[in-house]
Amino acid sequence: GAGVSQSPSNKVTEKGKDVELRCDPISGHTALYWYRQSLGQGLEFLIYFQGNSAPDKSGLPSDRFSAERTGGSVSTLTIQRTQQEDSAVYLCASRGTGLNSPLHFGNGTRLTVT
């Protein structure tokens, strides 16, 4: 079956512009996560959606970052007024309902802010 799909694969934007990153999770997965991976670093948690519950936004680094998940499926991560320090790979993952179900990741979007 299809895995987690992210688009675009790469995005170059100018400082100050807004960007939208898209994630299509695996069908039927109720949990969806966004992580950020900066060069040479591990994965930094950003936001977590679980079903119809309010999202866990505790990892968002600033109010320039927001995310939505429409219809319990597709998610969009929006970064407003991008800064150079926002340059990173943004990874999306989804997870099934089993208690120890692993996260399944997409290939990520590499964002470069010039």
């Binding site: 670093q41 591990g42 990874l91 997409g106 590499r110």
Partner: protein
């Protein structure tokens, strides 16, 4: 809060050798899960192996096995008969019991030399 520490930023071994990647974690939880993920240059995060904390038996998946020492909070990954395709970043990750995300270490860059 949970922390995951990978103390080896980079390792290099010859093809066919056995290599062990270290990981320690800190938590006050009693119910949790541990994972090793592989990230090749394609950026795809691939699940290598997982361990339930309540299980004493170490998990194995073909050439991959773990040494889980719960009292010491240690979770090392052993790769036997290493292959060129094993070259990648390896991330150790922790997940609390229940629907929750992962906390990742900073990763170990493993290079398999021909």
């Amino acid at each position: 809060a949970q922390t995951v520490t990978q103390s080896q930023p980079e390792m290099s071994v010859q093809e066919a050798e056995t290599v062990t990647l270290s990981c320690t974690y800190d938590t006050s939880e009693s119910n949790y899960y541990l994972f090793w993920y592989k990230q090749p240059p394609s950026r795809q995060m691939i699940l290598v192996i997982r361990q339930e904390a309540y299980k004493q038996q170490n998990a194995t998946e073909n050439r991959f096995s773990v040494n889980f020492q719960k009292a010491a909070k240690s979770f090392s990954l052993k790769i036997s008969d290493s292959q060129l395709g094993d070259t990648a970043m390896y991330f150790c990750a922790f997940m609390r019991g229940g629907a929750d995300g992962l906390t990742f270490g900073k990763g170990t860059h493993l290079i398999i030399q021909p």
